[in-house]
């Protein structure tokens, strides 16, 4: 019996190892130097029993099955910090760490709070457990109409993929409304899917639920296919990453841009609308899925620099070394679990760093961030007066 078990265990490691080659550049795992840079840069590496480097070592020793009994991999927030520093360019985040979470999920080793977010995503098409019928309710109260494709019944120039948090989270809805106002002011011909839109599924994918991701992607693909538009834009870097890099693998191919890229292109039209403003010192937080995952660092800064009176100061960790807010890869749905493990929040670290810049405003460009950072400003000493705002909110305010 013991022999059978150990053969089965060894088979797991081999199977797991081979499955890594299916990810783009997956073969590079063979070249791991065991330098441990990945485990060192990982914001939660010190709390993980299996940070990436050690996982590879155990895999090489053929005993990785022990990982299945361990839940510390759920500390991974898919922030791409490890992938960014790997000298051999191994796709650690999209490959190794995501595959590991998939195996944990299949083995039933999944924190309860993550489970409910996945069930909500499956049932309602959003991870917050909100009514799909109310997906466009954020737009009520605006003094202009936000066209919903199904009822507008006409082609549009840009299809705005709003996303879960931007649609439903009361704080993020403010950012969403700011973008709507901006599009309206710029005279952009746009439309949204409303109740036909589903979660982009990217964070569910990175939390190990590949099947759910595919299901959501297929639903969105179907909705995209019903309408005519030239490109997709979104305020959500996670949706952007999914539609740009993952959907095409499922045959869903559309041109997509993050709002920072889209607006940077329209910057000359925006500038005349921005009024003289008081001097204001801000620091910008690079979201993982805009920055490290997709190399967009300049567009957000171009927009900020256009606002009169704004002075940008960089935090010590900026651009490719930016610190994660803690929301990626399922982190949005693991706050309690991660707190139990580490008694620490990544958003607190980031806000502490923002405090040292003496900026008035911590500027963001991702819907995960305002609620996370605002929570931290309530507890981090010295951050009591710090304001968290999306670039969009600053732009609209500057328009007076």
């Amino acid at each position: 019996m013991a022999d059978i078990v150990s053969t089965k265990k060894a088979a797991f490691t081999t199977e797991f190892y081979n499955s890594l080659f299916e990810v783009a550049d997956g073969e590079k795992i063979k070249t791991c130097l065991q330098c441990a840079d990945c485990s060192g840069i990982c914001p939660f590496g010190y709390l993980m029993d299996f940070p990436p480097g050690r996982m590879i070592a155990w895999m090489r020793a053929g005993i990785l099955d022990e990982m299945l009994e361990n839940d510390s991999i759920w500390m991974c927030v898919s922030c791409y910090a490890c992938t960014e520093v790997c000298p051999k360019n191994i796709p650690l985040t999209p490959g190794l760490m995501t595959r590991a979470k998939e195996e944990l999920l299949l083995a039933g080793n999944i924190p309860a709070e993550l489970q409910s977010a996945l069930e909500f995503s499956q049932r309602y098409g959003n991870s917050l457990g909100e009514s799909p019928r109310k997906r466009a309710d954020w737009a009520t109260g605006l003094d202009f109409e936000v066209p919903i494709m199904r009822t507008a019944k006409r082609p549009v120039d840009v299809l705005w993929f709003v996303g879960d948090y931007a649609s439903y989270h009361p704080r993020v809805q403010e950012t969403t409304k700011a973008f709507a106002k901006l599009l309206h002011k710029l005279g952009i011909d746009f439309g949204i899917l409303g109740p036909e839109e589903n979660s982009d599924g990217d964070s569910q994918r990175l939390a190990g639920e590949r099947g759910l991701f595919e299901m959501l992607a297929e639903k969105n693909g179907k909705a995209f296919g019903k309408y005519e538009f030239n490109e997709i834009i979104t305020t959500d870097p996670h949706a952007y990453n999914a539609i740009k890099n993952e959907y095409p693998q499922l045959g869903i191919e559309y041109l997509v841009r993050h709002y920072t890229e889209f607006l940077a292109e329209h910057i000359e039209k925006i500038k005349p609308l921005l009024k003289e403003n008081r001097k204001i010192r801000v620091t910008y937080h690079d979201p993982c899925y805009l920055g490290r995952a997709n190399n967009i660092y300049d567009a957000p800064r171009t927009l900020l620099e256009a606002i009169p009176g704004i002075e940008i100061v960089e935090m010590a960790h900026n651009k490719s070394t930016s610190l994660c807010c803690g929301g990626g890869g399922g982190g949005m749905w693991l706050d309690g679990f991660q707190w139990e493990k580490g008694k620490v929040r990544l958003s607190d670290w980031r806000v502490k760093e923002a405090v040292t810049t003496e900026a008035e405003v911590l500027v963001v460009a991702c819907p995960y961030e305002p609620p996370r950072f605002e929570d931290s400003t309530k507890t981090v000493p010295g951050a009591e007066k710090m304001i968290v705002k999306d670039i969009l909110e600053l732009l609209v305010e500057a328009m007076g």
């Binding site: 999920l105 309602y124 639920e209 595919e214 299901m215």
Partner: protein, 255 residues
């Protein structure tokens, strides 16, 4: 080897606001979403846990409804051996008496040792399903169960009482149990496993030729809670309030 049957149903999902139909006798179905009854989901989990612990077979029976197939394939992915979808003329006014008769008739064929079902559901207008099924099958029923052990043809069950009390009791099998909570919360199964089940397993359809709703309540009117100013605040000293209360009780014939 315990032969377990779980009887479950889909109920209105409260994520959407409920609306009353034009007749004023039931819920408007246009936007109504359905979801597995939460307590039934615990009954399924308990059935799977028993199977994993002691062996046995799990059969899940559910009446046809929107989303019921996805739910049944999910239970298959959790470990259920057989899934049965009851088909009939399930009009929206089908009551629990009719459902319980259909469940009892279908379950009987499997000669179950144990029938598990949720202790209650949000659409139980004429009493919960469990005791009715037990009555039609002539089996004992115990409700509010949060733990089950099978031993020598008996079930040792943990029954919850108000005030945090737990009673442990023996039930002779076969029996029907109304599950308040499974010993573990309902597990998550990856969508890939559910999709695999859709390809490799089948749901058995069983036709219920005629539904018998007799014994259930007839709904005259269904309506949303109405805000009204019917409350009267009684003020004054203790003696005064007591005297006023006695007067009111007499007035309405309660004294």
């Amino acid at each position: 080897m315990t032969n377990i049957v779980a009887i479950v149903k889909m109920v209105p999902d409260l994520v959407e606001e409920l609306e009353i139909n034009d007749n004023g006798t039931g819920l408007a179905r246009d936007w109504l979403r359905l979801i597995i009854n939460e307590f039934d989901n615990h009954a399924i989990e308990q059935a799977i846990l028993l199977k994993e612990r002691d062996g046995g077979e799990v059969t899940v029976i559910a009446p046809e409804a929107e989303g019921v197939e996805d739910m049944l394939f999910t239970t298959a992915a959790k470990g259920a051996d057989r899934m049965i979808k009851l088909t009939s003329d399930f009009a929206e006014d089908t009551n629990n008496h009719a459902l319980a008769r259909a469940f009892a008739e279908t379950a009987k064929a499997f000669q179950p040792d144990l029938i598990l079902t949720g202790v209650q559901a949000n659409d139980d207008l004429d009493g919960p399903v469990g005791p009715l099924v037990a009555e039609y099958l002539g089996m004992p029923y115990v409700g509010y169960i949060s733990g089950v052990m099978i031993e020598d043809g008996k079930a040792i069950v943990r029954k919850e009482y108000p005030g945090g009390l737990i009673g442990e009791m023996e039930v002779v099998l076969p029996a029907v149990l109304g599950i308040q909570a499974g010993e573990e919360p309902p597990r998550y199964v990856a969508i890939s496993k559910v999709r695999q089940m859709m390809k490799t397993t089948e749901i058995d359809e069983q036709e219920i030729p005629e539904l018998d709703p007799s014994g259930g309540a007839r709904i005259n009117r269904m309506y949303l809670p109405e805000a009204a100013g019917r409350a009267e605040m009684i003020t004054g000293g203790e003696e005064e309030i007591a005297a006023k209360l006695v007067e009111i009780f007499k007035e309405v014939g309660a004294l």
